[in-house]
């Protein structure tokens, strides 16, 4: 774990700062969201495993704004034990915390005839267990503070189990359910829990997908997510039309779904 020793400008009543942690920030939706949050005046702790990309992103954002708006921490989300201490340090560095975003996720392609526990485990560890490791201390913190916002980047993929990605679907379904439970737990304490379900987004994650239909740029997803955060929504699809597509897909009877190949 390393960190750039840049000082974030301190907040004042007339120059207030929202403070966020973004886990899984180095590329894709995470990187776009990092830009978006910094553009909107947030001070953000960016976390990711890939040091070089993260440093590049940090420098890019800070030089764009001519001041330190983001700081970064190299972190592997499967290093569960390090989370409580790291969270404490980040809150001390940020001077508080208003928003927590879990965006770390991998989709490892598995063939239709592939049965590979290691691949499945990796997806469960990064997409789900990493989220749980963070959401527990963050949930407790926000419950104590009686304020805060949790954003979980899940996926439309969590809505059905499909032939090509059993573990990915499972990890996202579990994350969606977990976030729902947190919403039910924490709304009464004034905490907002937003579940984001992206469809295809043009990122590295879908580079092997043959025909990613309706794929939107990561910046568009980040824009939708930020808007939903501001409106303190509970759940969004990005792009929005996926809500209707998924309504249909969710309702395809199993005897038909078994015959489909996607």
């Amino acid at each position: 774990m390393t960190e750039i020793e840049n000082k974030l400008p301190t907040a004042t009543p007339l120059r207030p700062k929202k403070r966020a942690i973004l886990v899984g920030a180095s590329s894709g939706i995470g990187a776009a969201l990092a830009h978006r949050l910094a553009d909107e005046g947030f001070q953000v702790a960016l976390l990711a495993r890939r040091a070089e990309m993260l440093e590049k992103l940090t420098n890019e954002i800070n030089s764009k704004h001519g001041e330190t708006r983001v700081i970064h921490y190299i972190h592997d989300v499967t290093d569960y034990k390090s989370v409580p201490e790291l969270l404490k340090k980040i809150i001390s560095d940020l001077g508080g915390l208003d928003t927590f975003i879990y965006n770390a996720g991998v989709a490892i392609s598995v063939g239709l005839k592939s049965y590979d526990f290691e691949k499945d485990r990796k997806m469960m560890e990064i997409n789900l267990l990493g989220a749980l490791a963070w959401l527990n201390p963050v949930g407790e913190l926000f419950q104590n503070m009686k304020s805060g916002q949790i954003v979980g980047i899940s996926s439309v993929a969590g809505e059905r189990g499909r032939v090509g990605s059993p573990a990915y679907n499972t990890s996202k379904a579990a994350l969606t359910t977990y976030l729902e439970a947190y919403r039910n737990r924490l709304t009464r304490y004034g905490v907002n829990v937003l579940t984001v379900k992206p469809g295809y987004v043009r990122t590295d994650m879908i580079k092997n997908v043959e025909n990613p239909f309706w794929a939107i740029p990561a910046e568009q997803a980040a824009k939708d997510i930020f808007k939903a955060m501001q409106k303190r929504k509970q759940e969004i699809y990005t792009a929005a039309r996926w809500r209707w597509v998924m309504f249909i897909i969710r309702n395809i009877p199993s005897f038909l779904f078994r015959k489909l190949t996607f």
């Binding site: 301190t10 009543p13 007339l14 404490k88 340090k89 001390s92 001077g95 915390l97 104590n144």
Partner: protein, 467 residues
């Protein structure tokens, strides 16, 4: 120490909030343990009394707020000499209630009685008698403190004099007070003689303070920030004097605590705990203008007697008054100007605020004299405190305006106050405090707190960048 969790904490004026480890020691000995805990966990500490500062002085986001409000014992009280020794968390409210029945009153009090002794010393507060009794620090005989470097010190104007004059006014950044010995003021009645009169403009207001100060024990002005043109800076002056010996026919009665206690209802009808809801309806440019105009027009030259508590603690008259400023809270902007330049500078500032559609909703003027404390706000002149309501729409405009104010005040040789102003930039602080003061403070900080354990958000914002 038991497991600590972060909790939500804001400032008095509801303009800042953050997550902190809020620790309330019950014994002085715990302070050393908290220092050790902070060191082990790489956390910073902001000491806090009652948390009545209008800025980030008693906050440390993501760090420890060392709340001293439970250390509030009166350790010694001599009703013959009027010397009191108490722990730093003792509030002025408990203090005056403790000593008044014996015929004493705190020599210097803030506009609220909720403040603590430790907080009063840390910010070196002043009252409506600054021109006469100085700041609170000038009435402190001695204090004990624990420093982050592990030392326990006793300071008085003669012993450890340098540290005495720096810890008082040092915003809690050099050490933590553990005991304060203070000389009280003898009074012969629970009442003060008050006279109030209108002043038609700023010049008359400042002249009234200048002329009235030598002849009164207390003097304070209310300024109507919405009045324009020839009436710019108009307002009301309140001057008060202690009663002479034997002037009060029944001092034992007027010095009873019950006699002093502020009423619970407004006009005998409206419960005062709900009054801030009503006030919030009037807190717009138009509403304040109407209320201020009415207040000015009904103002008459009159004299009356009033209990000490009622005269001094106007801010406590409406409980939770700060909530009437709404969810975004308020900022207070207080500037101190030499008597020679005050009129022109404040005329310019009042005009500017009106031109930009950001009139102050409350203006308060006072008369001051300089003092010997290191981070001093006082000078031979006046102060003017402005309250501004914050809204989501006016933040940027307000921010720009207070920066313009800073320039005007600095050009006029003025000073600022770290219990009030929330936007003071490091360079502004350097300009009015001077390099020598900054350097002296830095050296003391290095000596008392080499690891920078005491590090409030205020210190981080203003002083850390200057080192």
């Amino acid at each position: 120490m038991k497991k600590l969790t972060l909790s939500h904490l804001g400032n008095f004026s509801h303009s800042l909030d953050t997550a902190v480890y809020h620790i309330r020691p019950r014994f002085v000995e715990e302070i050393t343990e908290i220092f050790a805990f902070a060191r082990e966990n790489d956390l910073k500490i902001a000491p806090r009394g009652a948390g009545r500062s209008y800025n980030d002085a008693a906050l440390k986001g993501g760090g420890i707020v060392l709340d001293l409000s439970l250390l509030r014992c009166v350790q010694a009280w001599d009703a013959e000499t009027g010397i009191l020794r108490a722990e730093p968390g003792l509030t002025l409210e408990t203090l005056w209630q403790y000593i008044l029945p014996d015929g004493w009153w705190p020599p210097v009090v803030s506009g609220t009685m909720k403040t603590t002794l430790g907080g009063c010393l840390g910010m070196n507060i002043h009252g409506k008698n600054n021109f006469k009794m100085g700041t609170v620090g000038e009435n402190i005989l001695e204090f004990d403190a624990i420093l982050p470097n592990g030392k326990e010190v006793t300071c008085s104007p003669k012993k450890n004099s340098k540290l005495f004059h720096a810890m008082i006014s040092g915003m809690g950044m050099l050490g933590v007070f553990t005991s304060v010995t203070m000389q009280m003021k003898r009074v012969y009645s629970g009442l003060v003689n008050v006279r109030e009169w209108n002043v038609p403009d700023l010049e008359a207001q400042l002249y009234a303070l200048l002329d009235g100060a030598p002849r009164n024990d207390y003097i304070v002005g209310w300024l109507d920030g919405t009045a324009r043109g020839k009436a710019l800076g108009r307002g009301q002056i309140h001057a008060a004097n202690y009663l002479a010996k034997d002037e009060d026919p029944d001092p034992a009665e007027t010095m009873r605590v019950d006699f002093q206690t502020l009423p619970d209802t407004f006009f005998g009808v409206v419960p005062k705990s709900k009054l801030h809801y009503l006030m919030s309806l009037g807190l717009s440019n138009l509403g304040v203008r109407a209320v201020n105009t009415a207040k000015y027009l009904v103002g008459r030259n009159k004299s009356y007697q009033q209990p000490h508590a009622a005269f001094h603690f106007l801010l406590d008259y409406v409980p939770d008054w700060e909530k009437s400023y709404g969810k975004q809270g308020l900022i207070q902007y207080q500037s101190f100007l030499p008597k020679e330049t005050a009129l022109d500078a404040w005329t310019e500032m009042l005009k500017l605020s009106q031109k930009r559609g950001l009139p102050t909703y409350l203006g308060v003027t006072k008369r001051h004299r300089p003092d010997k404390f290191l981070i001093s706000h006082a000078l031979d002149g006046f102060s003017l405190a402005f309250d501004f309501k914050i809204t989501n729409n006016n933040r940027a405009k307000l921010s720009e305006m207070v920066q313009d104010f800073d320039k005007i005040v600095l050009d006029a040789g003025g000073r600022f106050y770290f219990a009030k102003n929330s936007e003071t930039a490091p360079e502004i602080a350097r300009q009015y405090l001077g390099n020598e003061t900054i350097e002296n403070f830095r050296k003391l900080k290095e000596r008392c707190d080499p690891q920078n354990l005491l590090y409030s958000d205020l210190y981080e914002r203003v002083f850390a960048p200057l080192n």
